[in-house]
Amino acid sequence: MAEVSYVKASRVFSGNPPVRAVDELSLEVSDGEFLVLVGPSGSGKSTALRMLAGLEDVDEGAIHIGGKDVTNVPPKGRDIAMVFQSYALYPHMTVAENMGFALKLRGVSKTEIKAKVEEAAKMLDLQKYLERKPKALSGGQRQRVAMGRAIVREPSVFLMDEPLSNLDAKLRVETRANIAALQQRLGTTTIYVTHDQVEAMTMGHRVAVLKDGLLQQCDTPRALYDRPANAFVAGFIGSPAMNLKTVPISAEGAKLDGIVVPLSRAALDAAGGLDEVTFGIRPEALGIVPSGDEGMDMTVELVEELGADALVHGAVKIGEGSQRFVVRVDGRTPPTLGQHVKVAVRDHSEIHLFHPESGERLEA
């Protein structure tokens, strides 16, 4: 059990110019918390995790685990366990040997190792496979062995590097829930890296969004969804992605294809002086309205039926050109391809405005 903190930690890869894979990352993870690092590939999330593991140097700043500065401590001395994306199981050892390897190296007695391995195997439903080699296991079982190897050591921090990305979709959803439940039960501080924002939202107590080595925002899933700090987070969190369009604004509001979406006083003040803003609205905050009502004219180009609801992709004229919007509609009555529909904002409180250049969130 321990809290973790990154103090302006950077990792710079030499090159010309040098690449700041992780740039002055500052993060506080409290004891027992499940923190997810999420970002597109190349965002530095894995590097940040490996810095905490001790597999990657910290070039600037520091990393603390349990209040102790571990910046220059080798992995061995950090009391952490890691689950790798490839699982990295030792191919010549049985499941039990894999799980007990760290304890064996520490010189724990054989009976104690056996007891601990069995306890972990019970937790992960692996008892039947203890004598098998990794080769004879399915992907999901291997994943559980990798988890078991981490659990057996009873470390103060778990690190997980995309542990679900090699599983098929159904198993991934199932394992996602299992890992979250397991973490809840063990109460061990966990740092989890993923590129999948659904995983991030469903598993993390808090989610840290990274891009190009820079921390964009770190907050609870709800807060990330409701109040994204910038256009990148807004576009990254949520599926399908938020509609983000650059639109002209005036004193009345934002102009979209003949309609003016009224904006709050505070928002207009924040955008003061700008004649354009990045206007963001989630597909679920838009809706199709009867043709007589006020709204944007949209030509339906694609309908994705998901069962409960359907995603309607279509083009809307804004200014000179046309922009594509996605609208989430009821799954039972989707429009047909090529149909002209009226789209209106259903909930004005769900409008997000961002600075057109910096991408920073506008309004208080």
């Binding site: 593991a53 001790g54 992995p75 061995k76 366990a81 890691m82 990295a88 030792y90």
Partner: protein
């Protein structure tokens, strides 16, 4: 049967030339060699078209085998020679493997000029063996050789390396190790590069020291490569004729089974083809038995091979 031929005639037609070549180059000489072991064939009674002399050798049953296996010195002291062959083989392969592994481990790191080192270390392999052998023979020369000059310069005794003593065996082992290390190094380097890096990271996270990582990740990761190259190395070294013969000649202190078979076949007063063939068949048998035992031992360890 006809349907079968109709369907597959093309495949068989393509395979036929290889079958013929192997039959002529391998199977026929092998069968002839085995046949000779049951005769008393030598230079005096083999058919000689130049002298217009018909073959006059005759079958002698298992007499050649009995003579050879009796260990009699006039038949090459089989058991003593076998022991020397085993010493030679295991000393060479052990040193090949250990030195090759050491160099492969060094070359598997990020070092400056890695490509250059690799090329230099593969060089002994690229030079024709007989050229290296003659170079070494000169270096081992008791009077003018660079080795003894160096030894004398630092005041150490300078033995007659290639004389009638066990120094000769030592010398040929040194040369063969020098020749054989590159192959082991290249093969093991390939093996090392196929071990996933995250296994080392996982072991590091598990708290393994560098030695423990070597024991628990590197060695098991190399097992399939090692088992193959060690078997190959043993077979090749067991039958390594040119190094010994070119460096030490027909020296009884470096005599191994193949060199004795050669001596018996090509030199000496009688040119005893029968006994030479008997040696050949015995070498083949020893290697077959060894390979079978080796494979069985590996399979017991759970190696799929």
């Amino acid at each position: 049967m006809r349907r079968f031929l109709e369907r597959h005639w093309y495949a068989y037609a393509m395979v036929l030339p290889v079958v013929v070549v192997i039959a002529v180059l391998v199977l026929y000489p092998l069968a002839q060699g085995v046949f000779f072991t049951f005769t008393n064939i030598n230079e005096a009674n083999i058919a000689n078209p130049v002298l217009d002399r018909p073959a006059t050798y005759s079958g002698v049953g298992f007499k050649n085998y009995l003579n050879v296996l009796s260990g009699d010195t006039s038949y090459g002291a089989f058991w003593g020679t076998l022991v020397r062959t085993l010493i030679w083989t295991f000393a060479c392969v052990f040193l090949h493997y250990v030195i090759g592994l050491g160099l492969a481990l060094l070359l598997n790191r990020e070092v400056r000029g890695r490509t250059l080192y690799r090329v230099l270390l593969i060089l002994p392999w690229a030079v024709p063996a007989f050229i290296s052998a003659f170079a070494w023979k000169y270096m081992f020369n008791a009077q003018y050789g660079i080795i003894n000059q160096l030894l004398r310069a630092v005041g150490l005794p300078d033995p007659v390396w290639l004389g009638q003593s066990d120094w000769a065996l030592f010398a040929v082992i040194v040369v063969n190790v020098w020749l054989g290390v590159p192959f082991m190094m290249v093969a093991l380097l390939g093996g090392l590069q196929s071990i996933p890096g995250d296994l080392y990271e996982a072991a590091e996270m598990d708290g393994a020291t560098p030695w423990q990582r070597f024991r628990n990740v590197t060695l098991p990761g190399l097992r399939s490569v090692s088992s193959t190259v060690i078997l190959l190395g043993i077979i090749w070294t067991f039958n390594m004729f040119p190094v010994i013969y070119l460096i030490a000649g027909p020296n009884p202190n470096t005599r191994i089974l193949v060199t004795y078979a050669f001596e018996r076949f090509f030199s000496g007063a009688s040119r005893d083809y029968a006994v030479a063939s008997t040696y050949g068949v015995l070498i083949l048998s020893v290697l077959l038995v060894f390979a079978t035992v080796y494979r069985r031992a590996l399979r017991k360890q759970g190696e799929v091979w």
